[in-house]
Amino acid sequence: MNKVSLIIQREYLSRVKKKSFLYITFLVPLLIFGLYGLMIFMATKSFTNEGSVVHVYDESGVVAPQLESNSDIKYIINKSKNEADSLQQNLSSLSGKNYLVLIPKELGNRNNIQLISSEKTGFMLESKVQSDIQKAIRYHMFERSGLDLETINSINPSVNLSTKLITDSGDVEDSSSTAATILSMALAILIYITLFIYGGQVMRGVIEEKNNRIVEVIISSVKPFELMIGKIIGIGLVGLTQFLLWIVLSSTLMFVGSSLLIDKNQISTTMIEEAQNLSNQELAEDNPANQIFAAIDSLNLGEIAFYFLIFFFLGYLLYSALFAAIGSAVDNETESQQFIFPLTLPLLFAYMMSFSVTVNDPHGPVSFWLSMFPLTSPITMTTRIPFGVPTWEIILSLVLLVGGFILTTWIASKIYRVGILMYGKKASFKEIIKWFNYKN
């Protein structure tokens, strides 16, 4: 046991001391929050089309009078076709952001209107111009049909669906399946990627020892199983350390960031205003961003993080044992591909099911069984947890996962102890099964 702890120590320290570990530990949260900040920045800033000049040539004469310039977009009405034509020729030579809109004579339900610009137009400007024109045409059509504009304007219903969850104790809590869905998907991606990253590290570690030929020196001091399990646990602890540091760093950054950078409510209101400016009809409901913020508050992040770490670590143990067995059977990484492929199938399946089935029906039979089966449960169960899973299911899943891990470790160790001493022999599945049956 003492020797296993020595091996764990070496595997752990040799990785944690690497510069790349430090970089990843600090850069990933920064990157995530950089993106987060960027999204917020874009959300507030890119709504403005400041300084845009839109020239309109309106043959129908219906739309132009309705267009109102504001601080962002200035509409200039062109009277003659000649004027519009010469403008089209010289559009690129004008200073500032200039656009030309051509509106045909006849207007109906389907209208083909051209927006001409010298460079690619932004999405925000396009939709703003589009909705302005649409509004003008619609009003024109209402008027033609003899509808009262004032009545129409006064009718503007808005629906805000707030979801509540009844807890075991009968209390009503805020809940949002949108937030849970987004979080679930993020967790599914995270666990899928990290299982491969750390499992791959175990495999590369084994290949390295085998190629270095140091393995023979070491297994003359310790049992192959001790070396394998020491390596697996050591690297697993590196993974846990990484996650814990990320959680600590992220919460710090989140705290600092949210108090420094922006006030949540302010952002949401600006977004709502902008959104409503954009189109009353389309974005009448409450801002989804606001809902998500509120709902994330309602999710028990601490508990989710706790279960995530447990399922990550046990899932990692289960898969990394198999990765270790693969590493022992091959001489280099290229050769390992054929063996890794079948290993990825259950993970990939659980991953895809997470997006299609689990998040939509988190408590259905498919989700339930996938979250019990040890090869898929690390992904499926973590995906289900944000939706709230009964404790007995989590415990049963954990027990099965531990059992699965013991089974894969046992299988892997039998292959491993033979594989690490086979140099330059190309392994096949048949060969590996033979190794499995070797007596010590």
């Binding site: 020797k3 030929r213 023979e216 020196v217």
Partner: protein, 306 residues
């Protein structure tokens, strides 16, 4: 020190060791010889408890071989290697601790060896920064750092230049003088005669020869002598036919003869005869080298499958 009894090791279709027994005496240097694929590495792995035999047993210092003996054995595999990216001092410390040394104890021993081998400045270097010969030196130190009672060296001189090979050879001898038993596996026969007290020869999974170097050589003597004559008669006719002349040639006015005596005969009577034909300037019994015995034994054991 080490008693190997009727070891059998079977891999799928290939029998790597077939009823092999041998005895390694305490304090001796034991040469384990054999061509490639004979089963040497399989046997060494069994002694190191890397693999277990299908049948037979190994007795280490009076006890059945068990995991407590690991710390008393040092092993330098033929296929050697160390962690390329790990600092040498740390790596030594790790390997020594795996052999059961306490940390403080290990540090002290490493310092001692590094000084002895003129490697003090290497502590913080990485293996990949060293030349191949230097890496071998590090590996050798890693093998003996825990003062093992039994040291198993598989082709220890491969990869060394003559100067370093000599340093290692001296170290092996000095370890042996200090009481370590050494098993020395190689197919370089000149080093065997120089170093080994006893040898065993394995071929095609079977032990075919075992004993002290001297005994083995005597056993394979063929009663052959080399005689050199000066002022010899140009056409001697040997009446006594108690020997055969295997070779005869003249070099610098000296007649060199290689003769093989009949069995049970000694050289003295023949000498009388030679004295008649010239002045004897040299007489030497031809004792086969281990190399010759090796070649002869290995080529004589005909492969039953071929």
């Amino acid at each position: 020190m080490l008693e190997i009894k009727n070891i059998v090791k079977q891999y799928a279709k290939h029998r790597a060791l077939d009823d092999v027994s041998m005895h390694v005496q305490k304090g001796k240097i034991f040469g384990l010889l054999g061509p490639n694929g004979a089963g040497k590495t399989s046997l060494i792995r069994i002694i190191n408890q890397i693999t277990a035999p299908d049948s037979g047993e190994v007795i280490f210092d009076g006890e059945k071989l068990n995991s407590e003996h690991i710390g008393r054995i040092g092993y330098l595999p033929e296929e050697r290697g160390l962690y390329k990216k790990m600092e040498i001092g740390e790596q030594m410390l790790y390997l020594a601790q795996l052999k059961g040394l306490k940390r403080a104890d290990a540090i002290q021993k490493i310092k001692y060896w590094f000084q002895k081998m003129e490697m003090e400045t290497w502590w913080n270097k990485k293996i990949e920064e060293l030349s191949k010969g230097m890496q071998q030196k590090v590996q050798f130190v890693a093998t003996v750092i825990h003062q093992p009672d039994l040291i198993i060296l598989d082709e220890p001189f491969s990869g060394f230049d003559p100067v370093n090979a000599n340093i290692i050879k001296e170290e092996i001898l000095s370890l042996n003088r200090n009481g370590s038993t050494i098993i020395f596996s190689t197919h370089r026969m000149e080093s065997v005669e120089e170093l080994c007290d006893d040898i065993a020869l394995i071929n095609r999974s079977k032990k075919i020869l075992e004993g002290s170097v001297k005994d083995v050589k005597n056993q394979y003597k063929t009663n052959t002598f080399k005689i050199a004559l000066k002022n010899f008669e140009t056409n001697p006719s040997f009446l006594n036919s108690s020997f055969n002349i295997l070779d005869s040639h003249i070099e610098d006015e000296i007649l060199n003869l290689t003769i093989k005596l009949e069995e049970e005969k000694t050289i003295n009577p023949s000498l009388m005869e030679f004295m008649k034909y010239g002045d004897i300037v040299e007489l030497k019994e031809i004792i086969p080298s281990i190399h010759d015995i090796f070649i002869e034994q290995v080529t004589n054991t005909v492969d039953p499958n071929s």
